[in-house]
């Protein structure tokens, strides 16, 4: 297994499995995150999984106090991560959730759908068909609260980022950038090509699980009309608190948090 471990400050290190978008590396990130989540160390603060890397945040003072045998705090945490990597189960038994997300692809919600279709030399209906017939993997959450990076988009409908990013994109907007697709959780500037909009709320600040999607979920979009979109209440929202997995990314003992 190839990897590189480096600090990103005095309070965090990153394990990088190779800086590429691949389900295999992303699985490795997930299983390492699960493993460290279950077997953490004193001073552990949080894990931030990404496409092909896992970052461990820690409380420097607490780690130093507890693991004095190491030359520095970084090497103590690095040693912990390397031991975890040696003990990782070979095959992950993870069964991902399949989440179906309604998207309205009508003009008023899809300012870039025609552009994407032109790039692809397809009709907009064909673009929608391709976008809805793929099952996407949530590779990571980042950029904005609850923004899920999903992939991989069928090569027939990939589109570059906009040359001039929009200053405001509405929450719920579904975008494409290269082989990635994603849903803007809040009003934000952004450069992705917007091809539709979901009535579902991705960012749920008042709930225990603030992100509708989590890393490792599998997602399938289905098309709805604008009438259905406007009648949001009819759409079955996913039960908010049924998934507990992301909790494992967080330390139970947060006593030492806040030194930086």
């Amino acid at each position: 297994m190839n990897y590189r471990i480096f600090p990103i400050g005095e309070n965090a290190l990153t394990v990088d499995f190779g800086s590429e978008i691949s389900a295999e590396l992303n699985d490795r990130v997930l299983s390492l995150a699960e493993f460290i989540g279950k077997n953490s160390f004193t001073g552990f603060v949080e894990l931030v999984p990404a496409y092909s890397s896992l970052t461990v945040f820690y409380d420097l003072v607490q780690v130093r106090k507890t693991y004095r045998q190491f030359p520095n705090v970084f090497s103590a945490v690095k040693n912990f991560v390397e031991t975890a990597l040696e003990n990782l189960p070979k095959i992950s038994k993870r069964e991902p959730d399949l989440i179906k997300i309604p998207v309205c692809y009508e003009m008023e919600f899809a300012p870039d759908l025609e552009f994407v279709a032109r790039c692809a030399k397809l009709t907009t209906a064909e673009v929608i068909k391709i976008h809805t017939s793929t099952i996407y993997r949530v590779f990571m959450i980042g950029f904005l609260p609850a923004f899920a990076y999903m992939g991989e988009v069928d090569t027939r409908i990939t589109a570059p980022r906009r040359a001039n990013p929009r200053t405001k994109i509405e929450p719920g907007s579904v975008g494409i950038a290269g082989r990635q697709t994603g849903i803007y959780p809040l009003a934000s500037p952004g450069g992705w090509q917007i091809i539709g909009k979901t009535p579902l709320q991705m960012f749920r600040p008042e709930r225990k699980k603030i992100s509708f999607l989590k890393m490792g979920d599998m997602v399938n979009f289905f098309e709805i009309g604008s009438d259905e979109f406007k009648n949001k209440s009819k759409i079955e929202n996913r039960k908010s608190d049924e998934f507990t997995f992301p909790d494992k990314f967080t330390a139970d003992n947060r006593a030492g948090f806040g030194t930086r």
Binding site: R4, F6, P7, I8, G9, E10, N11, A12, T14, D16, S19, E20, I21, V45, E46, L47, V48, P49, A50, Y51, S52, S53, T55, F57, L60, V61, R64, P71, N72, V73, F74, M140, I141, G142, F143, L144, P145, A146, F147, Y149, P185, L186, S188, F203, P205, I210, S211, M215, P246, F249, T250, A251, R254, F257, G258, T259, R260
Partner: protein, 332 residues
């Protein structure tokens, strides 16, 4: 009723030391830009060091105290006055009901912190009272405080008058400057810079661009180049991460930074010097020096040890009256 904002200001938000462990949901860590200043003035008041404070930019608001209060200021110096009395930073100051605090001039720094003893009455969101301006949540209604807003105190100030003849030791106060030398540790892509850019990074003075905010400071200087093109996928970044943008300019990620990014990581500002960088404003300049991770870690440990000494000194029972001491442990 406690604090009444009589005027608008550039940007005044409620901040604490940040929400550190929701990054895996993409939630920006938020929190004060100059965390040392916040920890110091909170400790000075006998508060938990993570107590929520006001982070004030200039032009600053005029604020009326509707109740007696014991406060401390730290970070930037905006020439604070109560009536015509000058208020120094880094010491407890008693303010009487009906008095107004004004800030007339930017003397040094760009972010001033105001803490009150036992804190402001602010609801936590995701375990922090910090403001998330992007998601418009946390702190005071997730936004900049403005004229006619009121912030309540957690507890009544029992004192009728008080004089505090002490001030924090100078050795604890960050050595703020308009052109600091900022120490960094090498980032994952440091060695990917070409030789010329490597030495330029260490020898040039960079200036802070106008296009800078709580998310990040853009720097201006002669562009830096990698020895060959790199394609990186997004991964976690940190407060203090210095990224190289495609145009060769750098961005220093600050308290409201995105949780992940895909630009090359040239360096990371050490925690000890992050407050010096965080107090910079547009057109201020800075230069960089690389130190080892060991040195950087030791500086964090040293500052922590000094804070513990300060905490012990402040706990000395004569500083606050016995009643106040007892109340301190109660949950307000």
């Amino acid at each position: 009723m406690s604090l009444l904002f009589l005027t608008n200001s550039l940007l005044t938000t409620v901040q604490d030391l940040g929400r550190g462990d929701f990054r895996h949901f993409g939630v920006n860590p938020n929190g004060a830009m100059d965390k040392k200043a916040v920890r110091l003035i909170n400790i000075l008041l006998g508060n938990d060091e993570n107590e929520a404070v006001l982070e004030i930019h200039f032009p600053a608001p005029k604020i009326l105290f509707e109740k007696n209060a014991l406060i401390a200021l730290g970070g930037a110096n905006f020439n604070a006055r109560i009536d015509n009395r000058k208020i120094e930073n880094w010491r407890p100051v008693f303010i009487e009901k009906g008095q107004t605090i004004k800030f007339s001039q930017k003397v040094s720094g760009n972010r001033l912190y105001l803490s009150v003893r036992r804190g402001f009455k602010i609801k936590s969101w995701l375990e922090s009272k910090s403001t998330n301006l992007k998601a418009k949540i946390g702190g005071f209604e997730g936004r900049n405080l403005r004229k006619d807003d009121r912030i309540l105190f957690n507890a009544k100030c029992k004192m009728q008058s008080a004089k505090f003849p002490f001030r924090m030791a100078n050795s604890l106060i960050p050595d703020y400057s308009v052109s600091p030398k900022i120490r960094v540790i090498a980032g994952a892509e440091w060695e990917k810079l070409n030789k010329k850019s490597e030495s330029e990074f260490l020898s040039q003075k960079f200036s802070v661009s106008l296009n800078s905010d709580r998310m990040g400071f853009r720097l201006r200087g002669s562009p830096l180049r990698l020895s060959r093109k790199l394609e990186l996928v997004s991964s976690a970044v940190n407060f203090g991460t210095i990224q190289l943008l495609p145009d060769g300019q750098m961005i220093m990620l600050m308290a409201d930074h995105q949780t992940t990014g895909g630009y090359p990581r040239i360096a990371h500002i050490i925690a000890e010097d992050l407050p010096l960088a965080a107090q910079l404003g547009a057109n201020d300049s800075l230069s960089f020096e690389i130190i080892s991770l060991d040195e950087a870690e030791n500086l964090v440990l040293k500052f922590d040890a000094n804070l513990n000494l300060l905490k012990t000194a402040i706990k000395f029972p004569t500083i606050f009256n016995a009643k106040a001491q007892r109340c301190k442990d109660a949950k307000c």
